[in-house]
């Protein structure tokens, strides 16, 4: 039930909505320039309306700090105000008078946890067919769809990820039925009436791509290409050639017909949109890296990279992150060689490691998944610090998403996305005590009112329960 691979195809009604090759100009009025140059594109037609919620200037003192970039401070101070981190340091760090001060004895502070791979909102709970909005499984390449147009902001899962997992930012991706599944969206984990009210301001878009079993099975079963891994590559390459031609036309200065799918692919070739590539097997990742070179784009991250450990050197050399589970394995053929030491071997090889969830339950325990991956590495004799493991959940995903200058670590000037844990977050016995997003206290374990309750759960059994 919960091992959901996000490629189930119950999306027939959605096909009616898919609308590629439209030549219409964007209707958004936000780019209000006179229309003498119609080709001038509005790159942000569904702009973020998220604004930080009001917060109090706050300091936590006498606390163990993992800064997200591999640093640890014992008996430290974190001070944030005006939605930004102001200072982080040892016990002598000055704390202004007249602000809220929490004693962190026995507690730990980390940056807000970031899940680079989530389907909250586009495969929300309740997991009914009417909510299957993650795979536009009607064509193997659908770069024209945008995950944000599927996200249901009332998914109860957002609140669990916040309260139990300390998740403050997440990337919501299309599923993996398609080779090119569409644009991802990065969200602040803050309930809003609209998805625009959740969008992470200034976060680059991603393009979800998928290797391997899923696309070839989904389309092979329909008697269409691709039905093989070589078919996967062929369709990808043909599509990238079209994207290169489109980009050339677009850049020529002459009139051209807009194509929203091609706009996304051209955005990848421009370096504006990051490739988030579902890919299990090592050999397929290596093929994708060559394909990226062939067409002049960069892969940000291989997701579900269960065999990344086999090519840690290659991934390091190509500066590609691997987003992995601690220990998922055996649910399908391309997950057969998954091992619990994957993350640790990558770390030891100097490659970029991210622990991700792809799951509405494990997103609540990413800290625990990192702890398991860390322990497995230490058992091999690798020297990996607790602070390194926290980096797998904070700075590394931020960097892979292109938001590392804004969040992902506790550095002055960054967003005050902060989790106070009631113990070491790498222990099974620890839970978030308080979670701040942009300096606003949005979860407090000891205050039932500081626990979000989505519209869906109002008036239902268990409304406002601890969950």
């Amino acid at each position: 039930m919960r091992e959901r691979f996000r490629w189930s195809i119950l999306a027939a009604p959605l096909a009616l909505i898919a609308c590629s090759n439209t030549a219409e100009a964007p209707k958004s009025a936000s780019a209000a320039a006179p229309a003498e140059k119609p080709a001038k594109l509005n790159k942000d037609p569904y702009p973020s309306t998220y604004k930080p919620y009001p917060g109090m200037a706050t300091a936590i003192r006498n606390v163990t700090i993992f800064d997200g970039e591999g640093g640890r401070i014992d008996n430290g101070v974190v001070f944030f105000a005006g939605d930004k981190i102001q200072s982080v340091g040892g016990p002598d760090t000055p704390i202004p008078a007249d602000i809220a001060v929490f004693d962190g004895a026995g507690k730990f502070v980390t940056p807000g946890i970031i899940d680079i791979h989530s389907h909250l909102g586009d495969y929300p709970t309740p997991s009914v067919a009417a909510h299957d909005d993650g795979n536009e499984a009607t064509s193997p390449t659908t770069p024209e769809v945008w995950a944000e147009h599927s996200v249901w902001p009332q998914d109860p899962g957002f609140s669990r990820a916040l309260a139990n997992g300390g998740v403050t930012s997440l990337q919501v991706l299309p599923g993996s039925a398609n080779l090119m599944g569409g644009r991802s969206v990065v969200l602040k984990n803050v309930y809003a009436r609209t998805v625009q009210g959740m969008k992470f301001p200034g976060a680059p878009y991603g393009l979800k791509m998928a290797c391997g079993e899923n696309p070839k099975r989904v389309y092979g079963a329909k008697g269409r290409m691709p039905s093989t891994r070589m078919g996967n590559l062929a369709v990808n390459r043909q599509t990238w050639i079209k994207a290169q031609e489109y980009k050339k036309k677009r850049d020529s200065g002459k009139d051209f017909t807009r194509d929203i799918g091609m706009e996304t692919l051209a955005g990848v070739l421009d370096g504006d949109i990051k490739i988030q590539n579902h890919c299990y097997r090592a050999d397929e990742m290596a093929i994708v890296l060559d394909m990226a070179k062939e067409f002049g784009y960069k892969v940000s991250t291989f997701h579900h990279a269960v065999e990344a450990y086999k090519i840690g050197d290659l991934l390091k050399e190509n500066d590609v992150c691997s987003a992995v589970w601690a220990d998922w394995w055996g649910f399908k053929m391309e997950a057969y060689d998954a091992i619990p030491e994957n993350a640790a071997i990558l770390q030891n090889a100097g490659a970029c490691v991210i622990i991700h969830s792809d799951d509405e339950n494990q997103i609540q325990r990413l800290n625990q998944e990192a702890a398991k991956a860390l322990a497995n590495g230490r058992r091999m004799g690798f020297q990996i610090s607790d602070a390194d493991a926290i980096r797998w959940l904070t700075y590394n995903p931020a960097k892979a998403l292109g938001i590392e200058k804004m969040t992902g670590s506790l550095k002055p000037g960054k967003m005050a996305d902060v989790v106070l844990w009631n113990g070491n977050p790498l222990s099974v016995y620890s839970r978030p005590d308080k979670v701040w997003v942009d300096g606003a206290l949005l979860f407090d374990a000891s205050d039932a009112k500081r626990r979000p309750v989505s519209d869906f759960e109002l008036g239902q059994p268990g409304e406002g329960d601890v969950k």
Partner: protein, 430 residues
């Protein structure tokens, strides 16, 4: 690959000792598994496959092999309260997946025991994580009665089945409704009608018709009706649990056990009063379906507080491969004790929920699930707190036999410890 895998596993099996020896595990922090507090510096003695003594002042018999557990923890093996272990190698590869029998034409008569394959890699992987016994159930199929499950051990030998046909597995609620034609009305009607057919078959003569049951199915259900075979029922919603309690009054001999039970806390007093034990999912806290609207991680703690007999199980939650999550789930329930308004378990209760409680609920409390004298010698030595994420077994005994802890994942780990290839391709590193 298949050939290599077989050879590797076979080699492990041959290498393991064939007969049980006398083993004393000394000096560790000893957990009996019955809910009592751990004992520092305890000793466990296992002889001829069975625990002969465990406690603080237990003498080491002459000639016993001693395992020094100083600085370590010693516990009964983890008893996975619900699984499909041994029924699948790769879930999405049909030929390796024996979880479902729904298309066989049979229902209650299906018996998973012969399909439990001790050479499946999930057996070795979960054994090395300290899981020694498991409830193994068939997947739900085309009938509300999905067939007979077994109690299995995870030993590296050729006989994985502790008890075949230990229980019948049935589905209620959404899954049951789907199997019964699309509604809960059909679900309850099927339940009564199938049991009635089984009664008719028992009565002999012309009364039996095979509308719903084959003769084999009818024979098996007679055992359920008489209470000789326990009935594990997957049910999630509060109302479905209440209606099942109604059915229990109608068929008082049936020994019902609820599985999943995400909304159990809402009817906890009724469950306690009816004496229906629960093998519950530990961490469900999302309204995955409309029968799980009330799901909360506090479910088990609240049921326990109300007097319900509860164990942890992992129905439909990676239940063929990841029974190694069982300790993590139990640890999470301990963590809830420090969350305001939440209900968790004490450490001692949590460990009992993954050792003695499932054994007792399944009717094996006299033989399995704790380190009391006379129980099977399923013992695990851990390098730390067994519920903590960083801990791992250093020794695993099943039926008194020390088990190999290697598995296929370790082989891959060792081959790729350094990813680069050397003077020969990786294929030559073995």
């Amino acid at each position: 690959m298949k050939h290599l895998l077989f050879v590797a596993v076979a080699a492990i099996a041959i290498a393991s000792p064939v007969s049980a020896e006398t083993i004393a595990i000394t000096g560790g922090k000893l957990v009996i598994g019955d809910g009592s507090a751990p004992v520092e510096g305890g000793t466990v003695v296992v002889r001829d496959g069975t625990v002969v003594a465990a406690g603080k002042n237990v003498a080491v018999p002459a000639g016993a092999r001693t395992i020094d557990a100083t600085g370590k923890w010693v516990t009964p093996g983890v008893f996975a309260g619900f699984s499909r272990l041994g029924l699948s190698e790769v879930d999405a590869v049909d030929g390796t997946n024996d979880k479902g029998g729904g298309k066989s034409g049979f229902s209650a008569a299906i018996d998973v025991a012969p399909a439990i394959d001790p050479f499946r890699s999930p057996i070795a992987v979960n054994r090395s994580a300290g899981v020694t016994r498991a409830v193994v159930a068939p997947d739900g199929g085309g009938s509300i009665f999905a067939g007979q499950g077994a109690i299995a051990d995870l030993g590296a030998d050729t006989e994985p089945v502790t008890k075949a046909r230990a229980f019948q597995f049935a589905q209620f609620g959404e899954a049951g409704a789907a199997a019964a034609g699309g509604s809960r009305s059909g679900n309850y009607l099927h339940f009564r009608a199938m049991l009635r057919e089984a009664q008719d078959h028992a009565a002999g003569g012309d009364a039996f018709d095979d509308d719903l049951l084959k003769k084999e199915d009818a024979r098996v259900l007679q055992g359920v009706l008489r209470g000789e075979q326990r009935l594990l029922i997957h049910v999630e919603g509060a109302n479905d649990m209440l209606r099942l309690l109604d059915l229990k009054r109608e068929f008082p001999a049936i020994k019902m056990i609820f599985v999943g039970a995400s909304e159990g806390w809402r009817v906890a007093s009724q469950l306690a009063q009816a004496g229906v034990p629960v093998i519950a999912s530990a961490l469900n806290d999302l309204p995955a379906t409309f029968e799980m609207l009330g799901a909360t991680q506090s479910n088990i703690g609240r049921m326990k507080d109300a007097g319900v007999k509860v164990a942890i199980g992992m129905i439909n939650d990676r239940d063929s491969h990841q029974l190694r999550y069982t300790t993590q789930y139990a640890g999470n329930l301990v963590s809830l004790q420090r969350v305001p308004r939440a209900s968790g378990l004490t450490w001692d209760e949590a460990f009992a929920a993954i050792s003695s409680a499932p054994a007792e609920i399944l009717g094996f409390g006299d033989r399995l699930g704790s380190l009391k004298a006379g129980k099977a010698g399923d013992v695990v030595v851990w390098d730390g707190d067994p519920l903590e994420l960083t801990s791992s077994p250093t020794h695993v005994l099943i039926d008194g036999i020390e088990q190999p802890l290697g598995n296929r994942q370790d082989r891959l780990r060792d081959r790729y410890r350094t990813p680069q290839e050397g003077n020969l391709p990786k294929a030559y590193e073995h």
